[in-house]
Symmetry: none
Subunit: 150 residues, 2 copies
DNA sequence: GGGAAAAAGTGGTTTTTAGTGGTTTTTAAT
DNA sequence: ATTAAAAACCACTAAAAACCACTTTTTCCC
């Protein structure tokens, strides 16, 4: 099972291609032979999510099965399922981001690829740093988190 | 189990390499064969955290398992997992701090490495001393802390 | 206390590998 | 059938990692 960690600054070229960092590329090759699914993130942060295909296939049925009389559930389905694109790395280890997703996450030249365990997040560099600088906030945390000792 | 204590002033060279003090190096060699994980600190102080790999592997699953529909949990995951870098000491006992982490903690030439028991903290010297000078504050403390007798 | 030897820290050089951009070929659409 | 767009291919540039040599500090012995 793959375990993505760390962040990488990467550039998207004029054609919308982006080179996956070699460390990440190795992990992807092993986890899914380079077959990945990219989709939109459903919460307030407009970034993209990148799953190895097997991981996606665990998640997809769960999302499809949500009771969609609920508004939040419908939103999740439309965003996640409605934006999912299955793709493969090219010979040079790059992927071509679909225009729809590019504009959803406001991706321009400079991007950040963030490891999040079973998935990766793809951010516009500008938005990533803006998010980092946001005040930590006083959101209440789940009990599991309160109990952590880092 | 490792137990890091005390603080060391160290310098980072132009390439972002920093020499681990030999005392600390010995402890690291014993605890994890020199395999460490460096990541961002999640609270308001922008310093870095350094864990021996085995220690990190206790912590990582706990963080990955947090319910990430919660905003505070997502923030923790993005900071801790999204900045984690597994690394090894080079032949001369140095580590190369990734650029992302360097800028996160505002690391320049002069740094402080602070022992914190199971982990180490890495600070910009300037920020460390600034933090020391801050007023202690009147924050409320957890009951375990109230009960302490130093 | 001084000197020598060893260990620790520092900086630079070389080699390899990753990233970038352009070109050609194929495929699909009109 | 022709054109346009996308995908695969290939070559070049730049950056990172490994290697190596030198300087400084500390420790131990004389």
């Amino acid at each position: 099972m793959s375990n993505f960690l760390g962040s990488h600054a990467i550039n998207m070229d004029a054609k919308g291609r982006l080179a996956i960092p070699s460390k990440v590329r190795e992990e992807l090759a092993q986890a899914c032979g380079g077959r990945i699914v990219m989709t939109a993130n459903a919460d307030e942060e407009r970034c993209l999510l990148v799953y190895p295909e097997p991981e996606w296939e665990i998640l997809r049925p769960q999302i499809e099965a949500l009771p969609n009389m609920n508004k939040a559930a419908r939103r999740l389905q439309r965003l996640i399922l409605g934006n999912a694109a299955i793709m493969e790395l090219d010979g040079a280890g790059r992927i071509l981001v679909p225009p729809t997703l590019r504009s959803y996450a406001h991706l321009e030249k400079k991007l950040m690829l963030i490891g999040q365990g079973k998935k990766l997040e793809l951010w516009s560099e500008e938005r990533w740093f803006a998010w980092l600088d946001e005040s930590a906030g006083d959101e209440d945390m789940p009990p599991e988190m309160e109990a952590l000792s880092l």
